[in-house]
């Protein structure tokens, strides 16, 4: 009995190790397949204080768009932000923002004032209700929405220059052509 207990650490490690091995085959920034190609859930969010327009699911139809979930408290959003600014400046694709779970009334506004605003419209999702419908797991997260308003792709974590060039840009071009 005592001897078999000694194998416990090894068995625990083998289980954890097989999870690691399995985890390697998955891309952590890929959306679970069952959510892809579904229409965006209906929502209608108010504007972030200091801005005129809010964001509703209807705004995300008619053209290929990016929906970016961000928050002033999110460090990775800070890292991602310059790239979004650049994409907005190059007018690559319309970017809409979902300002997620801000604590202070003006946090979102101040963050955008400080670092710049790449978004066409921004919805204020203060209580995170819409984010739950969207299946948001953390910030930042970016959805690629097609002309019919369906989710075609989701990126978890910050978009990098490379990820944009290799994955998102070709995808968006393809969606725009079709």
């Amino acid at each position: 009995m005592r001897k078999t207990v000694l194998f416990a650490p090894l068995i625990v490690f083998l289980i954890v190790g097989s999870f690691f091995a399995w985890g390697l085959t998955r891309d952590p920034s890929r959306i679970p397949s069952q959510l892809i190609d579904r229409p965006l859930p209906e929502f209608n969010l108010p504007a972030v204080p200091g801005f005129q327009q809010g964001l509703s699911s209807g705004d995300l139809q008619g053209q290929v768009t990016l929906l970016n979930v961000f928050a002033s408290w999110c460090v990775s959003c800070h890292v991602e932000h310059p790239l979004l600014m650049e994409l907005a400046a190059r007018r690559e694709v319309p970017i809409y923002g979902l300002n997620w779970k801000e604590k202070g009334l003006n946090d979102g506004k101040e963050w955008l004032e400080r670092f710049g605003n790449p978004y066409g419209r921004i919805g204020d999702d203060r209580n995170g209700r819409v984010a739950i419908d969207l299946g948001v797991t953390g910030a930042p997260e970016t959805f690629v929405i097609d002309r019919q308003g369906r989710v075609r792709f989701k990126v978890i974590g910050p978009i990098t220059e490379r990820y944009w060039n290799e994955t998102l840009e070709p995808l968006i071009e393809e969606l725009e052509r079709s």
């Binding site: 690691f20 091995a21 390697l24 998955r26 952590p28 101040e110």
Partner: protein, 662 residues
């Protein structure tokens, strides 16, 4: 040509490491001293070659040789010289080479200590170490070669991530690696000890300094990372439970359990299986952390560029090293028999409880870190575990651990009288209670949590104080005798007192900075004032200037509180090469805390968004961490050369360490 020299040096080191692994194993089997001699010298040669390879890469960085792909991707000619040098390890390939260099350094030092250790134990330990080196050099050569050339040679490089161009972050990785890699030696000793069935007080005496020095480096490395996050990221926090932070924290928790348990093995010849398992676990967690950071199984801001082949390679190393060592443990641990028996109420007993709590804390962090991965694999759902989980569970376990640590040092080895110990702690308990009540009365917010935190801090620091008073018999014998006793105390005892006081200070800083943090946001133009925690902060001027490789805006503030008046200034820097912005918060320690001001861009023309914080007691975090590391260092100087039994006979046993004859 210089990069090729580095490349060849590394290949040569790889060959020698293979030869060394084989020869040490053969030498061990045949008990042949010639093989052992080769194995020992090989370690030193490998270290020299790894040093040469690393110098060559550093030279390529220093001279901005953009024909080397790694330099091109991570450096730029306009970068300040010091960051050209530190950029050597600011990327995946270079940092792995640094990892190999440190590994080789530790092995070489171990090789030179051959006389201090039993021959077979030393040979096998060095052999395990050689296998680890072989694996990591192979990893660098086959998946992460920093010496790869680029043709045609680009005119200039892509620049180092500006966040990494900072003194705090430049020296943070080497310390972290010294810690991670340092734990490889206790690991190798554990494997060798298990194979030989020799985990005893001699083993404990050999392992303890290694475990301690690795732990000290890891403590410093983690603290530097937290400090950097505090002043550089501009959000006023210092720890976010990010997977990469957790990756460094888990080995620290396991290592903390290890340095305590190894002491038990050394002094009492008990807890042997557990000590060897902890030694294996600690380095395994370092390896898992490496896997986590470099394979891309979890997303993180800190993570390096991801390449699946690297993940597979590291996982293979992981499986071989951890799976192999745990198999050795499973098969051999039953051969270890403890001679030192102890009662539940004893210092050993307290350490068992603390070990259990530390392991539970470590498991909490582990589960929180990997839960998203497990869920993803099992159900395909993507979830994230945030700070609330860690804050809820981890803080409770940590508080309990610290509470027990306070009385643990007071308990005698083998069998202790809990009543005597609790009686000696009575004044401290009273002081803690009084401090708690004071906090309840004067605190403006978070009274209950604050009272608990302060009671815990007083209890822990008081435990250290009572310990030192008891050991030196202060107030009971003349002061001169007490001082003589203080000088005669073993480094391990002083180390424990210092490190526990440091932890108390750290816990105080953590509690104060998170519970009583004041925050205020305002849109300010030049001349405007805002108030925070009794400070009147005026934005005096904002000016543009140009740094060596960035453009910047510097805001100067005048802060006034009562008669005190001082100026602080912060910066926002824009690095055009990477298109990134960084901030240098304006921080000034004043009274008991830090006044912390960060500011944003004046986009509207109406003013700068300014975020003001007053963070009380935050300085205690850094001093507490430094004191904790110092405690480890003091304990490190205690070599405990004499076998425990001899020493006990020669000294009249110091108070609190009285033991019945074995």
């Amino acid at each position: 040509m210089i990069p090729e020299i580095g490349h060849f040096a590394l290949i040569l080191a790889f060959m020698i490491a293979i030869a060394q692994s084989v020869s040490l194993l053969i030498g061990f089997n045949r008990a042949d001293a010639r093989f052992a001699a080769f194995g020992g010298r090989a370690s030193i040669v490998i270290f020299c070659l790894a040093g040469l390879a690393f110098s060559c890469l550093m030279f390529a960085y220093a001279t901005s040789d953009f024909s080397v792909a790694n330099v091109f991707e991570n450096s730029h000619s306009a970068k300040p010289f010091i960051y050209k040098l530190t950029g050597t390890w600011g990327n995946h390939e270079g940092s792995m080479l640094l990892w190999v260099l440190i590994l080789a350094l530790f092995s070489a030092v171990l090789a030179m200590q051959a006389r201090a250790a039993p021959v077979k134990l030393h040979m096998l330990t060095l052999g395990v170490q050689a296998m680890i080196i072989t694996a990591f050099i192979a990893f660098v050569l086959f998946t992460s070669n920093p010496f790869e050339r680029l043709f045609p040679t680009p005119m200039n490089g892509e620049g180092l991530n500006p966040l990494l161009q900072d003194p705090g972050l430049a020296i943070h990785p080497p310390f972290l690696y010294l810690g991670y890699v340092g734990f490889s030696i206790p690991f190798s000793f554990a494997v060798a000890g298990l194979v030989l069935g020799r985990v005893d007080s001699v083993w404990g005496r050999l392992v303890r300094p290694w475990a301690l020095i690795a732990w000290v480096f890891l403590t410093i490395g983690i603290a530097l990372g937290a400090w950097w996050a505090y002043y550089e990221l501009g959000w006023g926090g210092w720890w976010a439970w990010d997977p990469v932070e957790n990756a460094s924290f888990m080995p620290w928790l396991a290592g903390t359990a290890l340095i305590h348990t190894v002491r038990v093995v050394e002094r009492r010849d008990a807890m042997k299986g557990w000590a060897s398992l902890l030694a294996i676990t600690t380095f395994s967690l370092s390896l898992v952390g490496t896997f986590l950071v470099r394979s891309g199984v979890l997303t993180s801001v800190h993570a390096f560029a991801v390449d699946p082949t690297r993940g597979v390679f590291i996982l293979t190393i992981l499986m071989a090293a951890i799976g192999g060592s745990l198999t050795v443990y499973a098969v051999r641990a039953s051969t270890l028999s403890a001679t030192g028996r102890f009662e539940p109420v004893s210092r050993e007993g307290a350490l068992v409880v603390n070990n259990a709590l530390l392991v539970a804390a470590c498991a909490t962090v582990f589960v929180g870190t990997f839960y998203p991965l497990f869920i993803d694999v099992l159900s395909g759902d993507k979830i994230s575990v945030g700070a609330p989980y860690f804050n809820l569970i981890f803080t409770k376990i940590a508080a309990l651990t610290l509470a027990i640590a306070a009385i643990g040092t007071l308990l005698a080895w083998k069998r202790a009288n809990l009543r005597t110990v609790l009686r000696s702690m009575a004044p401290i308990a009273a002081a803690a209670l009084a401090a708690g009540v004071i906090v309840l009365v004067i605190a403006e917010r978070e009274r209950v949590a604050g009272a608990f935190a302060v009671m815990l801090v007083v209890w822990l620091a008081g435990g250290a104080l009572i310990d030192i008073i008891g050991r030196t018999k202060l107030f009971r014998v003349p002061l001169k005798d007490s001082l003589a006793r203080a000088r005669g105390l073993p480094g391990a005892a002083w180390g424990a007192v210092i490190a526990h006081s440091g932890l108390a200070l750290f816990a105080f800083g953590a509690a104060g900075a998170s519970l009583w943090n004041a925050e205020h946001v305002a849109l300010m133009a030049e001349g405007d004032s805002a108030e925070i925690s009794g400070y009147e902060v005026t934005l005096t001027s904002v000016e543009q200037f140009r740094g060596p490789n960035y453009e910047a805006e510097r805001a100067s503030f005048m802060a006034r509180r009562g008669a005190d008046e001082f100026e602080i200034s912060g910066e926002r820097r824009f690095y055009p090469i990477r298109g990134m912005e960084t901030s240098e918060a304006a921080i000034r320690a004043h009274r008991v805390g830090d006044l912390y001001v960060s500011f944003g861009a004046n986009q509207t023309g109406r003013g700068w968004p300014v975020r003001l914080y007053y963070k009380p007691f935050v300085g205690c975090l850094w001093w507490g961490a430094a004191l904790t590391a110092l405690g480890g260092l003091v304990a490190f100087t205690d070599r405990g050369r004499k076998p425990a039994r001899l020493r006990r006979r020669r000294h009249a046993s110091p108070a609190g360490m009285k033991v019945a004859p074995v």
